[in-house]
Amino acid sequence: MENSTIKAAPLLEAINLTKVYEDGVKALNALNVTVREGEIYAMLGGNGAGKTTTINIFLDFIQPTSGQALIHGVNANELPLEAKKHVAFVSENVQLYPNFTAMQNLDFFARLGGKSNYKRSDYENALIRVGLQSDAFDKKLKDFSKGMRQKCGIAIAILKDAPAILLDEPTSGLDPKAGKEFTRLIGELRDEGKAILMSTHDIFRAKEIADFVGILNNGELVAEKTRAELEGVNLEDLYVEYMAGYMDEMAETGSSLANNLSET
């Protein structure tokens, strides 16, 4: 008998996901990504690679041209209200409601996510878990630093208690300490069985935390590596290697621009 691993059902699944915008730009080309319970999938890629487009399709902010985005087996674009019950979201540069306190923000978003039975202690526990001090609980968000706001955003995702989590550039602009703390939290959530799909520019954090790393270039998944496959590999070199075409193209554009400028 072969030694096989029983895989959990996918909680986030992109099947041949394609998006062509009205101006003809192909943002995604037959993307296939699967994230199961207790997994972190990091999508790496430059600007315009299709990372945020993927997340936007999962959240039904845009419709795919073809293919499917499934959350907990529910088509996110056909039954968005049902699909969104099973997913939490943390965006880049979370600001939340600046005139609300941390507690008020948590309360509002928890209720919006269908959790209307939380008590103050539940919110306090979530805030403590993400590393906020008790003196910040009743402060208005406009007095928070970016890192503190990001922690609030994660607390909101924790309180929703959804099986899947989407993170869009979650560590963008965070200082190293806040970034490290964030990595710890995401790891904890993975250990609790959450399926996490994360878009990021941060190669090192992706390697540190992700179970799968997918490299996207011009809407295509050009490489997908497991944590095991990344052991001993310099991810930066790998990233540059796969992005070479993209980089060359950028360099070409840059040099022609420089030439044009020098001619003028």
Binding site: L81, K84, K85, A88, S91, E92, Q95, Y97, Q104, L112
Partner: protein
């Protein structure tokens, strides 16, 4: 979901520093408008009472009704000082004569010309200019601001419908800001009796309708701002567009409609008409002059009767002439009035595409200070003229038309001490503004229009948001 968004919006508004500042400014201005309105009313009332007393004194100082110079005045009313409308632009006094044309004189701006330049700060100004601008300032980033903060994306990562969200947001903004406005308004209303201004039940009802029109007007600009916010990405662009819309609606459209109607309907100017009337009067007088020159006493007239015969001749001549003048003037006046009303109707219809005009018209109709105020005052004056003419006829034997007056003083005989006149003998002039049902009927057109504007722009905001790019 609707309730959750609604309550969030209320809380967000109330906890914002923008609200605190705007609420403080609005409260001060609204309460100030009530206080100034009350003070204006009390000052006008004191002035009116003094003028009435002066009129009485003047009558009492005379011993013959022939010598009396009687004036009637537009009595001040509390609502009129809260919503001025045309009150300060029309003459408040009319010098009474038993026949002929009456002319209102002495506008408020005659006494205080500075206000003609800067106008008064009444409730119509506060709502029409200040609060509509605050609505834009409040709501220009209602949707695109949330998008820029990332809260829109975060909200819609949850199972909520767009319709529920925008519905809750619109209702929350409207209720939150309207209730906030009602607080200083209610304080202002409560201050009126304290300041010595007593309103009748009818006037309270009118004031309530004016305030409903004001809130509806505020709602229109709130919905316009939210529609713009749901149609743009950058809040700065939305603010700029909102400001342009406000300038057009509040400042440009009402003035332009008057200009356009002036171009379309040609109304002869008052000086032209007055010149025509004067020419006709002179012409008739010239025609009568030979008759006067050729006047001869009938044969056998006693010397003591001569003056009476001559006076009777002159009086008949004057009456016939005046009859012709009255007919001619009436015809000219009617033509002028018809044209003027046609022009006004066109201007008002055109201006109603702006919610600002609809509010002004509704508020002034309900306060009794619309364009019709002058007509009402003049109608009341002409009605009074009839009883005044009868009274003067009875007292003096002539109806005291202006101009020719002959007094015969005899000497000799037994001197009798003449009795001073009793002003109470004179018929009293009463002016009643339009009754509540007529005012409400007239104001209802514009009030309905404001509600329609609300529905259209709230619908517009709803529709714009359904197509809004949430990313």
């Amino acid at each position: 979901m609707f309730k959750l968004i609604f309550l969030k919006e209320l809380r967000d508004i109330i906890q914002s520093s923008r609200f605190t500042i705007s609420f403080a400014v609005c409260s001060v201005l609204i309460i100030l408008a009530f206080v100034m309105g009350a003070q204006n009313y009390l000052a006008s009332k004191a002035q009116y009472d003094a003028a009435i007393q002066e009129n009485r004194n003047q009558i009492e100082a005379n011993t013959d009704w022939v010598m009396v110079e009687h004036s009637i005045m537009l009595p001040p009313q509390p609502l009129m000082t809260l919503v001025n409308g045309v009150l300060n632009d029309i003459g408040r006094n009319i010098s009474m004569s038993g026949r002929g044309e009456l002319r209102s004189e002495n506008t408020r701006f005659n006494d205080e010309p500075i206000f003609a330049v800067f106008r008064f700060m009444d409730l119509e100004f506060i709502f029409g200019i200040i609060l509509s601008l605050f609505a834009i300032i409040f709501a220009y980033d209602a949707i695109n601001g949330e998008k820029n903060r990332g809260t829109l994306k975060l909200c819609f990562a949850n199972p909520i419908s767009r319709a529920g969200y925008i519905g809750g947001k619109l209702a929350g903004s409207f209720v939150g800001l309207s209730v906030a406005l009602l607080i200083p308004i209610l304080i202002g209303c409560a201050l009126l009796p304290v300041l010595g201004v007593q309103l009748s039940a009818d006037e309270w009802l009118r004031l309530a309708l004016i305030l409903i029109a004001g809130i509806a007007y505020f709602g229109v600009f709130l919905a316009i701002a939210i529609t713009i916010s749901a149609s743009t990405v950058k809040p700065s662009n939305a603010f700029l567009i909102g400001l342009v819309v406000w300038i057009f609606a509040v400042l440009i459209v009402p003035r332009t409609s008057v200009l356009i109607s002036g171009r379309i309907v040609d109304v002869p100017n008052v000086d032209e008409i007055t010149a025509q009337k004067n020419r006709y009067r002179t012409q008739l007088f010239d025609e009568d002059r030979p008759k006067m020159s050729n006047f001869q006493l009938p044969e056998g007239t006693e010397m003591e009767d001569a003056m009476g015969v001559f006076q009777s001749f002159m009086s008949d001549l004057s009456a016939t002439r005046q009859e012709k003048i009255d007919l001619f003037n009436a015809r000219l006046n009617e033509q002028y009035t018809n044209k003027k009303r046609q022009q006004e109707r066109l201007a008002l219809s055109l201006s109603r595409i702006s919610p600002s005009s609809a509010f002004t018209l509704a508020a002034t109709e309900l306060a009794g200070t619309s364009l019709t105020l002058q007509n009402h005052f003049m109608d009341a004056a002409y009605t009074y003229q009839e009883s005044y003419a009868d009274f003067m006829n009875e007292k003096t034997g002539s109806n005291r038309s202006s101009g020719f007056r002959m007094v015969m003083i005899t000497t000799g005989g037994v001197e009798e001490e003449p009795e001073p006149l009793d002003p109470d003998e004179l018929p009293q002039f009463t002016f009643k503004s339009q009754d509540i049902s007529s005012a409400a009927r007239a104001g209802m057109v514009d009030l309905s229009l404001l509600i329609l504007f609300n529905l259209v722009f709230f619908g517009g905001a709803f529709r714009a948001f359904l197509n809004y790019d949430l990313r």
